[in-house]
Each structure stands twice: as C-alpha cells, then as structure tokens.
C-alpha cells in the first residue's frame, strides 16, 4: 500500500519570504500522480498543484512550484513571496489505483503560518 509522509507538522514563514514543505511517499508503481492540497480555516480542500510522475519537468503554478525527485520519492512544495492568504493546512497526496478504482492517500498535513 502506498504511504505518504509529511515530517513537518508546523511551519512558519515571514510574509514575502519563501518556504518549502516536505513530502515523501512510498510506492512500487512507476506511473502515478502527486498533488498538494490546501485547506484554509474555511475547511474547503483546494488543489494547489499536481505532478505527473512520467513528467521530468517540475510543475509550477504562479508562486507555487514543486521539486519532484522520483528516485528519492520526494515531492516538496515551494511557496514564493508568501502571502497572508497562504496560511492553511497543506496536504500532500498520492493518487493510486486502476480505472474506476482510484483513490487519494493523504499525508498528515503541515500547518503553515504566515508572520506579517
């Protein structure tokens, strides 16, 4: 079974600075998807960024980028120019399963605090 590990329960960063959230996973599959979701106090789960394992290029979405190291099974999230609205729980997730049998397995989350 796939497992996802987030080793940083809490992180904090000064507004406008850069922060990196760590994620590692364990799998025997060669083709899969990885995601970072954000959960602000509103409780809504919001997709931040996704990465296809077969793509070597790291995904980027505006201020958010990932460092995907397939051999090391590492998938970290970098947030540049941190803003107050970035304060949230961040979850790393792995998508597994075949057709019609897919599911997301989540890490335990990292609570990110932005210091004004």
């Amino acid at each position: 079974a796939q497992t996802v590990t987030q080793s940083q329960p809490e992180m904090s960063v000064q507004e406008a600075e850069t922060v990196t959230l760590s994620c590692t996973y364990d799998t025997s599959e060669s083709d899969y998807y990885l995601f970072w979701y954000k959960q602000p106090p509103s409780r809504q789960m919001i997709l931040v960024i996704r990465q296809e394992a077969y793509k070597q290029q790291n995904a980027t979405e505006n201020r958010f980028s990932v460092n995907f190291q397939k051999a090391a099974k590492s998938f970290s999230l970098k947030i540049s120019d941190s803003q107050l609205g970035d304060a949230a729980m961040y979850f790393c997730a792995y998508r597994s399963g075949g057709f019609g049998n897919e599911k997301l397995t989540f890490g335990t989350g990292t609570r990110l605090t932005i210091i004004p």
Binding site: Y32, M45, F99, G100, N101, E102, L104, F106
Partner: protein, 113 residues
C-alpha cells in the same frame, strides 16, 4: 455553481441517533468518494463508488451505509452514532481514467454528544 455540494454543513446529535449526509456533484464525473477527517486533521478514505457501484470500502463499521442512487449523488447514512464518529466528512468526485485530482465538497462537520 457549486461543483460538489454536501448537506448539511453541520450536524449536532446525541449518541445512539441516526443521521444522513447527502452529496451531489454537477461535474459529470463517474466516481464519488467519502473521506473522514478526524480531530488531528488526518484524511482517510471511507468509500468510493464508480457508476453507482461500490468499489472501495476501507474497513468502515457496518453502521456506515453509503448509497449512490445515480452517479451524480452519493449519500452517507450513519446508524447508532458514537462519540468517535465526530469528524468532518468530505464528499469528493473525479473522472475515472483521467488520473487527475479529486474535487471536494465543503465538508460536513458531525458532532456527537
């Protein structure tokens, strides 16, 4: 238009009662899920349905009964509620085969007293 909507958003009830949560998605997806988020924020899959057929049942107690009348709806009925059932329950949907993200509802916070 809300893509995945759940009702109710909040439930407060006594131990031993029965409650239901309803979910609807208008994204045309064929797969729907129930996830449970506990007090430590850990998200764990409970069930998934693909085209109304139960696919994943992650060793959830029999007191939990999912039902999918059609592929746009997935309901969760919980019998004989226990204190440990207090959590936020998320409905989600996706399209099988595309291996993209899951789209989540806003969650339903259940408090059992």
């Amino acid at each position: 238009d809300t893509a995945v909507s759940q009702t109710p958003k909040y439930l407060v009830t006594q131990m031993g009662n029965d409650k239901s949560i309803k979910c609807e998605q208008n994204l045309g997806h064929d797969t729907m899920y129930w996830y449970k988020q506990d007090s430590k924020k850990f998200l764990k899959i409970m069930f998934s349905y693909n085209n109304k057929e139960l696919i994943i049942n992650e060793t959830v107690p029999n007191r939990f009964s999912p039902k999918s009348p059609d592929k746009a709806h997935l309901n969760l009925h919980i019998n004989s509620l226990e204190l440990g059932d207090s959590a936020v329950y998320f409905c989600a949907s996706s399209q099988s085969g595309r291996r993209g993200e899951l789209f989540f509802g806003e969650g339903s916070r259940l408090t059992v007293l």
